[in-house]
């Protein structure tokens, strides 16, 4: 009780000089720690107690000085009594002060096991920006980081799952060749490949299939456009970017593959429902077969798959055993077995 009183009534001039060491140590410790509010409050109350007892002590000393001057004028005997009395008083106050300091020290040392400014990142600094229009930034950036972390977690998880299932039939002949796939420098080379390499690859695929004709043209610079003619069934336009398939468009054999300027039309979709569906499935196949590490193999697999459409209107669906269902032939081909299925009969 006395200590709190003293702290509030204590003189302002004496406080800073006497108390300087205490708040400094405690303040420095608190900045670094991650204390609970209760502990902090306790610390502060102890600090207040120290300051209160210190003030009391100084006040007593000052009182002592004034009193002795007055007493010297009247009585010497009472002076000695008085002196002994004040000495005991000062002693008790001093003891009190020492005790308070000790408890504070003990409390503060337990409060600050972690020291230093190392966790203060740029993000924290951004939060300190006083400009009102910048205050949102901190929050947004934090959300961003959180989502990044989530995406990263999901991708690692999905990578693990996909890596286990052997959907890509040609990429991993056996589990031992996993190390083979890790050829990171190959990625950048697929986009910028010499034209001869693309031509040679398409030529070799062309030789592989008797009834499928591939012609390469480059109407728009270095990237090739491959025109596929599959028997008398369909025509396809495949846009390559280096060795990666970028877009696939399938049209009927009768449909014009040139635009009004006489160039290859790589955008206009087919007018026929069947080939619109085949185009959709071919785009899906393109994504399925895409593997940036083995681009030539992915193109080869894609064309093998596309070649399986040579019996589009004649082969019945594997599941329902009908050719026509929903007024459409089986327009979907299984990626590995190349078996025909209707869009809605897919396994």
């Amino acid at each position: 009780m006395a200590t709190t009183d003293a702290s509030t009534t204590g003189s302002c001039s004496s406080m800073p000089t006497s108390n300087r060491p205490d708040p400094n140590t405690s303040g420095g410790a608190m900045a670094g720690a991650a204390p609970t509010p209760e502990k902090l409050a306790a610390c502060l109350s102890y600090l207040r107690a120290v300051r209160g007892s210190a003030t009391q002590f100084f006040a007593l000393l000052a009182q002592q000085g004034e009193g002795s001057e007055n007493l010297m004028l009247f009585d010497v005997s009472t002076k000695k009594e008085e002196q002994a009395d004040t000495e005991t008083k000062i002693k008790t106050v001093l003891d009190d002060l020492m005790k308070n300091v000790k408890t504070l020290q003990c409390e503060v040392s337990s409060l600050s096991p972690i020291v230093g400014n190392s966790t203060q990142s740029n993000l924290d600094l951004l939060s300190l920006d006083p400009a009102t229009d910048k205050q949102q930034l901190h929050h947004q950036l934090r959300q961003c980081y959180i989502w990044m972390d989530k995406v990263y977690n999901y991708s690692t998880m999905s990578h693990m799952l996909i890596g286990h299932s052997h959907l890509n039939r040609s990429q991993m002949p056996n589990p031992l060749s996993v190390s083979k796939r890790r050829r990171p420098p190959a990625i950048s080379n697929n986009v910028n490949v010499p034209q001869q390499q693309v031509d040679a690859l398409i030529l070799s695929i062309n030789k592989q299939f008797q009834d499928m004709m591939l012609t390469v043209s480059r109407p728009m610079g270095s990237n090739a456009i491959v025109q596929v003619t599959l028997g008398q069934l369909l025509r396809g336009v495949i846009t390559l970017r280096g060795l990666l398939i970028e877009a696939v468009l399938i049209r009927g054999y009768n449909e014009s593959f040139l635009d009004h300027q006489g160039r290859e039309d790589i955008f206009k979709p087919s007018q026929l429902a069947v080939f619109q569906r085949v185009t959709d499935n071919a785009s899906a196949a393109m994504l399925h077969f895409c593997s940036p590490y083995l681009a030539d193999l992915s193109i080869r697999s894609f064309f093998t798959w596309l070649h399986s459409f040579s019996n589009l209107f004649t082969e019945p669906c594997t599941k329902c055993n009908c050719t026509v269902s929903n007024n459409s032939p089986p327009t979907w081909r299984e990626f590995r077995t190349l078996l025909p299925y209707h869009q809605h009969c897919r396994p």
Binding site: G231, Q232, L233, G252, Y253, N254, L272, A273, V274, F275, L312, F313, T314, P316, C322, T323, V324, N326, N327, S328, P329
Partner: protein, 236 residues
């Protein structure tokens, strides 16, 4: 231009309109949308015999048995199809509509038989990539003859590549009057790319069948179709 199959729908009791209605509802169940009307007509010209009336040359009979069929199809409204039919040979010419104006100039050689004009008209349906035309065949006199169903599959132009899908589609709304073998006309051209002329030749084939079928019950039209009785009325 896709592959076209022409199929006669049996109508033994000559219900006519009722049977057509039945086909309409069946095709509607497949999701077909009515999409306008169509008409295919066929005029037939015979080589004149008037000269042999004056001067009967023996042996000239071998060359006179020629028929010139002029067909129009609303699917290709700017074209006239002229099919010349002589024993064992058929030549189909695809010409501009102006060809019709040329015919009166050939009147010294070929004359039209007005009462042999035959036409089919009806509703045109589209369903996915199929075009279905259900027409009722009638003579110029208005005499009802039967039902002709034309199915065209737009996505393919070679019969060999799409006969299974066409057959299944035809059977799905016409039942088992569709044989599992392709019609003889398509069978003869199984690996060839089909064009509009092939459609018209199939129509002519069917029209001839209808005319011949009428020859037995209706004796009057048979005598009119004989080359020799002259009704030299030329269209102008």
């Amino acid at each position: 231009m896709g592959v076209t199959v022409l199929q006669t729908f049996p109508d033994a009791f000559r219900y006519g309109y009722k049977e057509v209605e039945k086909l309409h509802t069946r095709i509607a169940h497949l999701g077909a949308q009515p999409n306008g009307v169509f008409q295919v007509d066929c005029d037939t010209y015979y080589m004149n015999q008037q000269n042999s009336q004056f001067n009967d040359i023996p042996g000239s009979g071998s060359t006179v048995n020629k028929k010139l069929h002029i067909l129009h199809n609303t699917e290709t409204p700017a074209s006239t199809y002229a099919i010349i039919e002589s024993p064992g040979k058929q030549v189909t010419l695809c010409a501009d509509l102006m060809f019709d104006l040329l015919l009166p100039r050939l009147s010294h050689m070929y004359t039209a038989k007005k009462n042999l004009k035959v036409e089919t008209k009806g509703t045109r349906f589209t369903v996915s990539d199929f075009i279905v035309k259900i027409g009722s065949v009638s003579m110029s006199s208005g005499q009802y003859k039967g039902i002709l169903v034309e199915v065209e599959y737009l996505a393919c132009s070679v019969p060999a590549l799409c006969w299974p899908i066409l057959r299944e589609f035809l059977q799905s709304f016409m039942g088992f009057c569709v044989s599992s073998q392709p019609p003889p006309y398509l069978q003869a051209r199984f690996q060839q790319v089909q064009g509009p002329q092939d459609t018209m030749q199939q129509y002519l084939e069917k029209f001839n069948e209808f005319r011949e079928s009428s020859a037995y019950p209706v004796t009057g039209s048979l005598s009119a179709s004989q080359p020799g009785t002259t009704s030299t009325s030329t269209p102008s």
